[in-house]
């Protein structure tokens, strides 16, 4: 089943409450996805440093910090439960290689200038509390509550998936051609960490964006190349987009006001949003790309 949620703020005054708005949405969608939950927050930071969201699992944080600073002298590390946010000026490829070669028991959940991703197994209510989502501020955010159907209940199997800088994807549905597509994308040099179908869709999107296609073109091509059932929400540094497959079995409802655009699998996840009863509320049409920001 799974639940997906997203919110894109148009009014900066709401930036400080982004985390608490998303937290309520995620907790409500626990009824559609009790296994695991995750969220990506974009907070438009200035500066040249990239941020890496890393799940350190059961590793001792102090040891990890010490070992990492041996490889990265400018490492600025912040801990949030079993995830850490690493900031460094080093090039992305070098950092990814260091993590891959020397920290095999950690998993990189995403990186970028703006994005921070947290995901873990457990009920959405617990996951939201564990990572203190309420305290986060930012410009836009997406989240997912998972009811696992096609791969195991693990952190790697949780959403959002990020396969490119400041990109992430959440998915309600299932893809039927993901094995074929994974093979094709691997040949193009894209790495996958799990057997999950959504990770393939995320890789597909990253590959397209890297080839200078914009988000709208990418998702329109996705309609042709991705076979299966889906409602996707995909986030980029400055915006987000929504796409449903042409059969549209997987639900989605959008509420738009002058202050924000919100999307969720069910309206009840948005019932707490300010002014939602006077929002423009509609169901995204099948096979049509909706996008906000850039």
């Amino acid at each position: 089943m799974c639940g997906i949620v997203g919110i894109y703020l148009k009014n900066e005054k709401l930036n400080n409450s982004l985390g608490s708005l998303l937290a309520e949405m995620l907790i409500n969608m626990g009824s559609r996805g009790p296994d695991s939950a995750g969220f990506a927050i974009y907070n438009n930071e200035k500066g040249e440093k990239l941020k890496y969201s890393i799940c350190i699992n059961n590793l001792d944080y102090e040891n990890f910090k010490k070992e990492l600073s041996e490889y990265l002298d400018d490492a600025d590390i912040r801990k949030n439960s079993d995830h850490v946010i690493l900031k460094t000026k080093k090039k992305a490829n070098d950092v990814l290689k260091i993590l891959k070669d020397h920290f095999k028991n950690t998993s990189l959940v995403g990186y970028g200038k703006s994005i921070e991703i947290f995901k873990q197994v457990g009920s959405p209510n617990d996951v939201v509390k564990k990572f203190n989502l309420n305290k986060y501020s930012g410009t836009h955010a997406i989240g997912h509550t998972r009811m696992a159907t096609e791969s195991a209940i693990t952190t790697d199997g949780s959403h959002p998936y990020s396969t490119g800088e400041d990109e992430c994807l959440v998915h309600n549905g299932s893809l039927s051609n993901h094995n074929n597509l994974r093979r094709k994308l691997k040949k193009k040099g894209i790495n996958f960490d799990s057997e999950n179908d959504t990770e393939v869709a995320a890789g597909y999107i990253s590959n397209h964006l890297a080839n200078k296609k914009n988000l709208k073109e990418t998702l329109n091509d996705g309609l042709r190349d991705l076979d299966g059932f889906y409602t996707f929400i995909t986030g980029t540094r400055n915006g987000f987009a929504v796409l449903r497959d042409e059969i549209a079995c997987k639900p989605a409802v959008i509420a738009e006001t002058k202050d924000y655009v919100a999307i969720a699998s069910e309206f009840q996840a948005m019932a707490h949003l300010p002014g939602v009863n006077n929002a423009k509320i509609f169901e995204p049409e099948p096979g049509v790309v909706y996008s906000w920001g850039s």
């Binding site: 639900p251 069910e266 309206f267 009840q268 948005m270 019932a271 707490h272 009863n277 169901e283 099948p286």
Partner: protein, 225 residues
Amino acid sequence: MELDLKKLKLRNVNDTLQNLDRKKNERDFTIINPEGNHAVCAGLNKEMNVTIKGHVGYYCAGMNQKANITIEGNVGTGVAENMMSGKVHVKGNASQSAGATAHGGLLIIDGDASSRCGISMKGVDIVVKGSVGHMSGFMSQSGNLIVCGDAGEALGDSLYETNIYIRGKVKSLGADCIEKKMDKKHLNKLKKFLKDAEIKNFKAESFKRYGSARKLYNFKIDNSY
């Protein structure tokens, strides 16, 4: 009587409406703060008037018998699914599968209904003042589906004996669904539906009628679909 879903549990609200105290003469109810709850007013079976102020989730007014239910907001999947009788009036938009498998009664949607509106309907009358999405009237068996706006792809696919009236454009017809001649008796029927739904700005003559070619559900050895 006002029922507040912020204070009362959904189960209590539905229980109250499903088991009306016959000694009291209370037959008018207002539900406030529905906040997208599912199955609001499901399984009502007595004559009463219920107004829901706000947006609701899935299966609102499902299995309705005799009750007159008005939703002042949008509805999720499967509004009035399996309705037997009574009236359900949605003042906003409806999500997919509105009026699915419903046997009787009248469903009015003031806005748009998305995909699969009236799927497998078995005698209900559905009036949509806006447009309907793809696969509407899929495998519908009897009753009337009236749409003042447009219809999406594969309208009336594999339908049996439902009458479909569309005023706007039809993106495509489904298997075995064809345009049919509008006779006087159909016009008269349609006029009555438009009146019941308080539609004054459209004339019955501006609609087209669609129905089954009856080639798919009558067994024919050389059927070449």
